[in-house]
Symmetry: C2
Subunit: 121 residues, 2 copies
DNA sequence: AGCACAAATGAGAATGATTATCAAAATCAA
DNA sequence: TTGATTTTGATAATCATTCTCATTTGTGCT
């Protein structure tokens, strides 16, 4: 694993949740690292392609990255305080596969994100 | 309904599926309309806020717009040819509600999009 | 019609995330 | 060490989207 990939990964660990590429970059800078922005993007791309990092989009289109925990999962996000909960969705997985099959699709992936207001908000 | 909103809506009708703001703009120009890009964006924003247009994001973050058909539904998109199929997902709706309730969330909405390769591709 | 005032519009500049370039630096193999 | 290969950081380029602002258009009133 390359040095920059390590740095990006551990920055995401420290962040604990979703972070944008720009945030990762500025966090690294605050820690005195000289890592360039392009390198951050390159590392994030690689991490996503290796499925060690999740990516989703804010409403304005900016990409947010988060360290994958174990296995495939989805998120329940509080749009007020930003709290995120990982959720298990075997029901959705089954449904997605069935729908894909019924329409003759192959290699189907899915985006499933829930968002609303948490109990506190 | 303002003039530009009308033009944008009927361009989306003609498109029949998802179209980006830039595509809507260039289609209008091809038809000899002098509508400005900013106006296209303004009209699309309004249409989305009025829930007469759906919006989703391509993988690169660009927004795609589509005239809402009747009722809530999801999409199965071919990433190669762009073909989109509307799908009914009562299973997902139930699951989303259950998950939300279990975690004490209110006012939960969801994003569910399937994508893969259609039979032809 | 003529006028005042508000809303809508279009052109172009500004913004901001992401990507492309490219030369310098680190890594590697022999 | 030497020469090839990969990685990196700075910077420029790209591109969708938003902002600004002067101009046009619409509306109500006389
Ligand atoms: Zn909350
Ligand atoms: Zn899933
Ligand atoms: Zn296809
Ligand atoms: Zn649904």
């Amino acid at each position: 694993m390359s040095k920059s990939l390590n740095q990006v990964i551990s920055t995401l660990e420290r962040a604990g949740g979703f972070a944008s590429a720009q945030e990762v970059y500025s966090n690294l800078r605050k820690q005195g690292k000289t890592t360039g922005l392009a390198t951050v993007y390159r590392a994030l791309q690689k991490a996503v392609s290796e499925k060690s990092v999740d990516v989703l989009r804010k409403e304005d289109g900016e990409a947010l990255y988060r360290l994958c925990t174990t296995g495939h999962h989805h998120h329940l996000l509080c749009i007020s305080c930003g709290k995120t909960i990982e959720i298990e969705g075997s029901a959705v997985e089954k449904w997605a596969n069935t729908v894909a099959k019924n329409h003759g699709f192959r290699a189907v992936t899915h985006v499933v994100e829930l968002s609303g207001l948490c109990a506190k908000c």
